[in-house]
Symmetry: C2
Amino acid sequence: MLAWDQKVTMPEGGHPARADQLATLSKVVHERFVDEELGRLLERLRPLEESLDYDSDDGSLIRVTRRDWEKQRRVPTELRVELTRAAALGNQVWIEARATNDFAKFLPALQRNLELKRQYVDCFEWEDSPYTPLLDDFEPHMLTSEVAEVFGTIRPVLAELVQQAPRVDAEFFEQSFEAEKQEEFCKRVLDTLGLEKGSYRLDPTVHPFCTSFSNRDVRMTTRYNETGIDALWSTMHEAGHGHYAHGIADSLQRTPLATSPSLGLNESQSRTWENLVGRSRPFWLHWYERLQDTFPAQLGDVDLETFLAAVNRAEPGLIRVEADETTYSLHIILRFELEQRLVEGSLDPKDLPEAWSAGMADLLGVEVPDDTHGVLQDIHWSQGGIGYFPTYALGNVISLQIWASVREALPDLDAQMEAGELGELAAWLRDNLYSLGRKFTPKETIERITRSPTIDPQPYLAYLREKLAALPAGA
Amino acid sequence: MLAWDQKVTMPEGGHPARADQLATLSKVVHERFVDEELGRLLERLRPLEESLDYDSDDGSLIRVTRRDWEKQRRVPTELRVELTRAAALGNQVWIEARATNDFAKFLPALQRNLELKRQYVDCFEWEDSPYTPLLDDFEPHMLTSEVAEVFGTIRPVLAELVQQAPRVDAEFFEQSFEAEKQEEFCKRVLDTLGLEKGSYRLDPTVHPFCTSFSNRDVRMTTRYNETGIDALWSTMHEAGHGHYAHGIADSLQRTPLATSPSLGLNESQSRTWENLVGRSRPFWLHWYERLQDTFPAQLGDVDLETFLAAVNRAEPGLIRVEADETTYSLHIILRFELEQRLVEGSLDPKDLPEAWSAGMADLLGVEVPDDTHGVLQDIHWSQGGIGYFPTYALGNVISLQIWASVREALPDLDAQMEAGELGELAAWLRDNLYSLGRKFTPKETIERITRSPTIDPQPYLAYLREKLAALPAGA
């Protein structure tokens, strides 16, 4: 709540006190969570856990909470405080360094964050890579080697797809779209996505995100740019996260299970609503005329085929957050490879800009003009968020595995989307995925839907191949 | 923050979880505050306190916190839980009872709240009245007998003033004023009141209030009615509360001293900005033309004298929150007298509607048509807020005592207000009052400004007499 308010409603004068408030509260929460007493209580619950079904709410609650407790207990409070401090300082330095294209300025903060992350890794046991404990914070139970295998499969296919993709005209997006009309249209679409009325809100912010304070109090945010209507897909992306939070079972509310099993699974749903729904032909068969009516000056002369080609095009670029569906995972793979090398010690942080440029040339065939548009573009490393990036691409991959099950269960889905009906899709995903919360591991959760625990990139690659093949041949 | 959000931004679906969140957090805060360890620490600080000036920040911090700790420790946790529960239930029942004009439905909840309040009173020692411990929660160090004396002085004068006040035409307010224009004008005025830019925000809500999360993060709220422009005085009222929070010294932030010494003192400042500034001739000499320009259809033909007479008129009515400056305190006196009798046991709650009607006839000369417009109109009793009402009228009284000192210190104030300049007023009040926070008792605080610790109603009565005498003779 403090964080949401900070990014959405707080007057700027509130920043210093808010930082203190967040620090105090997270300290209090952490102290209470790692208390010996909680460990004793969990121990006393072991017989109960063993007597319960693996699938039961209470059994899961004990099992998952014990894992959390044991994990958090391994990290000394002083290290945790240092990590928090270094993250805050690093973030401050990064803002300046990025604005002035000054990697040297950022380097010491990055080194400090990395050094602390290595100390953090040392609190855990790992088998395949020291990167695994970092990954585990965002994608629990996932090994670095498993991610590497998935990424190893998709890397060459994506690179080839990008290279072969036709050039598509999308210049019509390079116009001004009135912010109030964008907001009105985004809210209109959002209201049809199957979220219960009165359970959510959408607010403007600088860096869109979604959070929730219960399954009936979901806060999505978006950004209305002056140029283009990216706000719409940003809204649908956050609506996917919102759906997850909204769908978690009532019985899990106010427990550690009232969230998704991993960032990858959560991202799979933001990608589902943003891309699999929000860039699909059936969706736009319903909405495109309405969008044209909203922006007649900008889109009156753009036909549906031109529009669909533009929103599904693949085009290499420098910036991850502006990347299209096909190139996006390549941006992630670069970061994953660099992160691993940094953590394993085979890449010196000072050589990062060079490695970045080489990777971008190799993966996307683009030349990086400066660090602001290169290694300094993302906030994550500045605040110690190492191990986070892979979950974005895993989300892309997982979204298509789940989508295959959706398609099987709802053969009528295209017709529903063409009619502007998304309620059945939302209900199916809620009943089969969102409602489970964090009761099961990510793989157990995926298996419940797809009948296989494996993260299989083939549906994702098939989807991209088909999508790109459908684009009109380039100019 | 949870409470502000609940009233300003939360989607309605969030209510059940929010109630749990508020309950959990207040339980945690209470447990930590009444911990034995805090008592031991305060005891260890006694020698330090005795070595420090009475006026020092640290000395005040120890002294005031010890009083808080000792007071809170007297109330058993179970009673506190029961009080919270009864308040929540009472509030729920009141909403229904008020909507259906059904006092009988509300009666059991009121009786329960009263019974618990008596148990609460029994946790304390008192001399003059069992009402004093309740009053002390809102107006610390104040005796019931002192309030009774002040109210005894103003009661007959106010009743007479109201009776003699000329009838003033204010029909022009009974028109529709566009909400967006009201909001724009309110914000325009608010931006000139001497609050630092970027330190506050103003949002619409149902029941306007003000809260703050630091002295640079002040949240004011208001309500834009369809009829009239009460939103403006509501905004200036909340801006007075906002000024208090905004002016508290940096050195007191994040301590128990970072608030006002009492609700009465806080209310004195909301009344100062709402009435002494916001209904004054000099203020409107600057703003009235601007208001006319904003609402030409509604106010183009209303001259300044007519407008000033309307906003300063005295007119008996049934509803406290709609009452004018003169009649307002009479509404409060009725509630204070009834509360005392309820707590002392000389009035049976079932006889409350009758006593209410008799009091309204006696004090304001109005006939109460039903309980919705009578005893059920206020939220306070439903949630156990007994002892709160007197602070409103004390605020009126105190505001004029402080205003006399302001006048002396700023002989130029009228000219400044005529020029639309309120910065010096804000700065003087900040330096002499707001910055002190809760370092001193209410009376000590008043004495620092007025050189007398007595609550003296004469300036208040003189102000009303003068104001009402200046009204044009009635139709």
